[in-house]
């Protein structure tokens, strides 16, 4: 997957988890939770959808690395290598 494909895959997940009608416009450098008003249950769902759709396991110790869209894409890019 290219960086853009990863980014779109993450945005797809966020759209479904947050119950939005279209992909959210987010600032990649800012925390996702505040921008989209996500709670801890929503955040865990993003982690579980990553596992379900893309077989990416995120250990709890790494949850902090998924704070922003950019850091999430960085993280996935790194673990896929």
């Amino acid at each position: 997957m290219t960086r853009d494909e990863i980014k779109n895959a993450v945005l797809d997940i966020i759209q479904d988890v947050a119950g939005l009608d279209e992909a959210p416009g987010v600032d990649g450098a800012l925390p996702l939770r505040e921008q989209l008003d996500l709670d801890s249950m929503d955040f865990l769902d993003i982690v579980m959808e990553l596992r379900k759709r893309h077989k990416i396991e995120v250990p709890e110790a790494d949850y902090g690395k998924l704070a922003t869209l950019d850091s999430t894409v960085d993280y996935i890019e790194a673990v896929r290598k």
Binding site: D16, G19, D37, D45, K52
Partner: protein, 477 residues
């Protein structure tokens, strides 16, 4: 056959739990005793019309579909708010002989009514609301606080205390705190955390009705569950929860089929679930008391509710300024009740289903003792009593003094025995047991409670319970 989870009961909590687990690839079997979905909130037919049984409306409604418990639930289930087609209530009221308080979705109307009727109590009411907002009702604790003590310390007026207790208790108090014994003279009370749960259901958010009844939602969820590989078995009753070394290992159905599972989630109630466990360990499962039961009458009207004096969506009433909430000494409590008009929602077109419902507390053991002929007579008397007491509130479903020329009749009556038969709840205790397991845990490993006896309430609360328990005990692992 081995499953990741077996879920007992395809009501709101069981369906929500099942959909959630199947979505994340778990192998799940959902077992339902009846041929229909919905559990306590299913559907039945009256005069050819399909009517939601039990709760016909959601509480926790928020207009944006995103905030609060409803928003959280919809996101967890990947259900779109607009697909529910929810329509909010007109307005409702709490009626006592010396005062009426109106409320609608959101606390402003109720607050202004209290400011008008109880000017000395409004500061206390505001402080009480702040305290409720700051209380985490999802906290997992066995500590029990008296809601009455909290209310009395904020609101000086005993009438206001009773008026606020009335709808909260009639909507969601299983009984059992301070009022457990028949004829007990102690004042009605309930657990503070449960009070906060029900308060938020009713007053901080509010009521809304799905346009096509509850059935459509249950069928949509069941379809999703099957599409994700889930197995739904209707008309099959779980006879036993099988255990090995103190842990649940599977279920045996009445027809003899056995399903092994790593985990079992049961929505049939706390005491009812423990009653299913084979060879209970001695002394470990003290009997869980059954809660209070009700009677519910359903009247199909030949004209709109509003035209016979029922303009509110719900009327929570007490015919005595001292509200009492306990198992009545007679078959039915005549001093209080709740009346609901299913056509009084802000619907896009005039309602086709003009239905009044009324429910009041009932005495299960007395109903149980009746001979068949007495039982029929008691149903008729209860239906007439409902119509007569509604007339005291200005709602006339019977025209004229002799009661002839009825616009409708509560002859479709659910007694505690009907409820026990169709919901599997001991003594027809629809509010669940006074004893909750907020963690969902039971004395047996791998056996968890979901639904009302886990501590939440109403349709949204029960579904959120199913979601939260599978998240906590299975998906988070």
């Amino acid at each position: 056959m081995a499953y990741d989870a077996v879920i007992i009961g395809a009501g709101p909590s069981g369906l929500a739990a099942a959909v959630r687990l199947a979505h994340f690839g778990k192998k799940v079997c959902l077992v339902e005793a009846h041929s229909r979905l919905g559990g306590m909130n299913s559907w039945h037919r009256v005069a050819g019309m399909e009517i939601s049984s039990g709760l016909h409306a959601f509480t926790n409604y928020c207009a944006d579909g995103r905030s609060g418990a409803l928003g959280k639930l919809l996101r967890q289930l990947r259900v779109k708010f607009k697909d529910l087609e929810l329509y909010p209530q007109n307005r409702s009221s709490i009626r006592f002989p010396s005062c009426t308080l109106a409320f609608d979705n959101g606390p402003e109307l109720l607050r202004s009514q209290i400011a008008q009727c109880f000017p000395a109590g409004i500061d206390g009411f505001d402080r009480l609301r702040t305290l409720i907002r700051e209380t985490d009702e999802g906290e997992i604790t066995d500590r029990r606080t008296s809601a009455r003590e909290v209310l009395e310390s904020h609101l000086r007026d005993p009438l206001l205390v009773d008026m606020l207790f009335c709808p909260v208790m009639l909507y969601g108090n299983p009984g059992g705190v301070g009022d457990g014994k028949d004829g007990s003279r102690s004042l009605p009370d309930m657990d503070w955390l449960l009070f906060c749960v029900v308060w938020k259901c009713l007053f901080e958010s509010g009521m809304a009705c799905p346009l096509s009844g509850m059935r459509k939602l249950w069928e949509t969820l069941a379809e999703r569950f099957r599409a994700d590989g889930g197995e739904l078995i209707l008309s099959a009753r779980v006879a036993r929860v099988m255990v090995g070394s103190g842990r649940a290992v599977g279920v045996r159905l009445e027809d003899g089929r056995e399903f092994r599972a790593d985990m079992i989630f049961s929505s049939v109630g706390f005491g009812e679930t423990l009653g299913l466990v084979e060879s209970r360990r001695e002394g470990e499962t003290a009997d869980i008391p059954a809660g209070i039961s009700i009677v519910e009458g359903v009247a199909v009207l030949d004209r709109p509710s509003a035209s016979i004096g029922m303009e509110d969506t719900a009327i929570f009433f007490s015919l005595d300024d001292a509200f009492s909430f306990r198992r009545p000494a007679a078959l039915v409590e005549r001093k209080s009740g709740v009346a609901l008009a299913m056509d009084n929602y802000l619907l896009p077109e005039p309602a086709k289903k003009r239905v009044l419902k009324m429910s009041r507390l009932a005495n299960y053991p007395l109903w149980r003792r009746l001979a068949p002929e007495e039982y029929r007579e008691a149903k008729t008397a209860t239906a007439l009593g409902m119509a007569a007491d509604l007339a005291l509130l200005g709602v006339r479903i019977h025209e004229g003094r002799d009661g002839r020329g009825a616009f409708g009749c509560f002859d479709d009556l659910f007694t505690p025995l009907t409820l026990e038969r169709f919901t599997s709840r001991t003594e027809g205790a629809l509010y669940g047991s006074p004893v909750k397991s907020r963690s969902g845990e039971t004395p047996y490993g791998n056996l968890y409670l979901i639904g009302t006896d886990q501590g939440f309430h109403g349709i949204v609360g029960a579904m959120l319970s199913g979601v939260a328990m599978v998240n906590r005990h299975l998906l988070a692992r």
